[in-house]
């Protein structure tokens, strides 16, 4: 009549002991070879330039947001097209077609607005331009 939680506790204990044991054993056994390139960040074999705090152009986010518009659209339109024929037979043309027209219409208004207000116009960064010419 032992408590089943004892097994869980034992598993947790082993789970903590094994990595700790492996790390301490290797710390005792391994030779110490200090070297600079070991501390450098790994960039797929390239020599790293600069640090990680780079500013991204805000327009990447605009493009990502517009991508979400089309992404969601696709996710919802695909199943709709698959059942469209059956749906027209079952409920008629209007109830099958109109909700999707309204949905795409709302998306289109959003896209037209974003387009008109320059969300897809790629603005060049003055700083990058300057660095390019120097």
């Amino acid at each position: 009549m032992s408590n089943p939680w004892i097994a869980i506790g034992a598993l947790a204990l082993v789970g903590v002991l094994i990595p700790l044991g492996m790390m301490s054993v290797s710390a005792l056994l391994r030779p110490s070879v200090p070297e600079d390139s070991k501390r450098a960040s790994y960039e797929s074999g390239e020599v790293p330039t600069g640090n990680t705090r780079i500013r991204f152009n805000i327009q990447y986010y605009m493009v990502a947001l517009l991508f979400v518009v089309f992404d969601i659209e696709t996710v919802l339109i695909f199943p709709w097209t698959v059942i469209y024929g059956d749906a027209v037979d079952a409920v008629g043309l209007g109830p099958a077609l109109l909700p999707m027209v309204a949905f795409i219409g709302i998306l289109a208004v959003g896209l037209a607005w974003a387009w008109r207000n320059g969300a897809v116009r790629w603005i060049r960064s003055p700083r990058a331009q300057q660095e390019l010419t120097e």
């Binding site: 709302i106 208004v109 037209a112 008109r116 207000n117 320059g118």
Partner: protein, 497 residues
């Protein structure tokens, strides 16, 4: 009673009108010849038409008893329209109309006006929908629809550091509380296997998984507490209200708060009725404690403020505490219709008087008067009509019988006493007495103190003045008209229980 037979989906007309207005505003902004050249008059006119149209539908449905005998269910029970939906719709649409009118002057010199108005309407759509949600999924979606545009609106003055900081803080805390709310929903689904409010109530089994259900209920309460700025989720409110454009502060502190409370009323009466979940978690005790803490903390913090706008922000937290009495006093001995109805009535009256008070601060900002109590010294000599209106708002907020704030507080505290919670009403009364002190400081500055500066007031903005005067007139008219609206509100509450 129905003179005209409408299809069932027409019950959502108020929300549909608001959403359509937002899209029309986007379209207007897309087809203008040059960016930012649309006349503000056109935008305000479209906005006002949309808000008044939604208001007209709400009032019509309230009078025609749409969905009040039996709730109208839509989309397989995901949405429903009943009396409480329409009461909330009325509050949101009225506040929205006032805010649109006042924004005409307030943002007259700022760019992106069409976006401002359409975000306002999208947020209002979400708030209106919050009154008609009948499952946790739609509740979460409507909550997000009302929150996301609000974050952008708070940061609308994007060259103003205070506005941007307020927007960022509001967004971060809002995102955190959305996460808490969504996690709470998932726990409730895990415990009950359902997301529909009434199905959750039917499936609640206090013996199976009581811990998961209890934590879920507390997390949902936390998500709602954020939306309504209840202690301990209140700390975004003073920052956001102070930094935001003042019409937006008015909108958030009145309409958004009302929407959050109506959602709380719906969830905690329909999904977690106290008799079903009392053994898991007694949310009556939870809300009683939160109501006391919120009333005391909100009012004491308001009393120590130097800036009038920040004082109003803290007083708005205090008022959230008063309305929370409506949930805290749902004891078995209480007259439940009266308690909940009183909460809704206070939200309605508060919508007008608080919006008006914030808009007066907006008027003062328009004139560059300054932010502190001293800066308002002697303003009544320059703007007597607006100052009379502000005096009405402040005394009504404090609970003096110049506006309907007196009656709604009286009914609320009376209902709490009737529920056997005389101590809760006593805390409320003491907090109200304290609030009179700091509200009176503004009135004293306006009327009695000598001006400490030369006001440079050369124009009297029409939109702001009209909004303030309409709000004042409605605040006063609700005093004799209280019986009419209270009937509807108490009937709406009765339908819920």
């Amino acid at each position: 009673m129905a003179a005209i037979e409408l299809p069932t989906w027409a019950a959502l007309a108020p929300a549909l009108i608001l959403a359509a207005t937002a899209l029309v505003l986007f379209l207007i902004d897309s087809i203008e010849s040059e960016p930012d050249t649309t006349s503000p008059v056109l935008l305000t006119a479209v906005g006002l038409a949309g808000a008044l149209g939604a208001l007209a539908f709400n009032v019509w449905y309230l009078i025609a008893d749409t969905g009040q005998n039996a709730p109208i269910e839509l989309f397989g029970g995901q949405l429903m329209v009943d009396g409480m939906t329409l009461v909330l719709g009325t509050i949101v649409a009225s506040v929205l109309a006032l805010v649109v009118l006042a924004s005409y002057d307030y943002i007259a010199d700022d760019p992106y006006q069409a976006e401002y108005f359409s975000l306002l309407f999208l947020a209002a759509t979400g708030m209106t929908l919050l009154g008609s949600v009948d499952s946790f999924v739609t509740a979460f979606l409507a909550l997000e629809l009302s929150s996301l545009p609000s974050y952008a609106l708070v940061a609308y003055l994007k060259d103003n550091q205070g506005s941007v900081e307020a927007g960022l803080k509001y967004f971060l805390i809002g995102a955190l509380s959305s996460a808490i709310f969504a996690y709470g929903i998932s726990l409730i689904y895990g415990a009950t296997g359902s997301l529909q409010f009434d199905a959750v109530a039917a499936a609640v089994d206090p013996t199976a998984l009581p811990g998961i259900l209890g934590v879920g209920i507390v997390m949902v309460a936390g998500g709602v507490a954020f939306k309504t700025a209840i202690v301990p989720f209140h700390f975004w409110a003073p920052e956001a209200y102070e930094g935001a454009p003042t019409p937006i502060s008015a909108f958030l502190s009145s309409a958004s708060k009302a929407a959050g409370f109506i959602l709380a009323f719906r969830i905690f009466t329909t999904a977690f009725p106290i008799e079903a979940v009392a053994t898991t978690i007694d949310w009556l005790v939870l809300f009683q404690a939160l109501a006391v803490v919120t009333m005391v903390l909100g009012n004491f913090a308001a009393a120590t403020q130097e800036s009038v706008k920040r004082m109003l922000a803290y007083s708005s937290i205090g008022h959230a505490g008063y309305v929370l009495i409506a949930l805290a006093a749902l004891t078995p001995t209480a007259n439940a219709d009266l308690v909940l109805g009183a909460g809704m009535l206070h939200l309605l009256v508060y919508g007008f008087m608080n919006t008006g008070a914030f808009l007066f601060v907006g008027l003062a900002e328009y004139w560059d008067v300054g932010r502190t109590f001293e800066d308002y010294n002697g303003l009544a000599q320059e703007a007597p009509i607006a100052s009379v209106a502000m005096t009405i708002f402040l005394f009504s907020l404090a609970g003096l019988p110049v506006g309907a704030g007196f009656l709604s507080k009286y009914v609320l505290f009376g209902a709490a006493v009737g529920a056997g919670l005389w101590w809760l009403a006593a805390v409320g009364a003491i907090a109200s007495a304290l609030s009179l002190f700091y509200y009176a400081r503004v009135v004293k500055a306006l009327w009695i103190e000598e001006p400490s500066q030369d006001f440079e007031i050369d124009t009297y903005p029409v939109g702001l003045y009209a909004a303030i005067i309409v709000a004042a007139v409605v605040t006063v008219l609700l005093l004799p008209g209280f019986g009419l609206v209270s009937e509807d509100a108490i009937a709406a509450a009765g339908a819920l229980l």
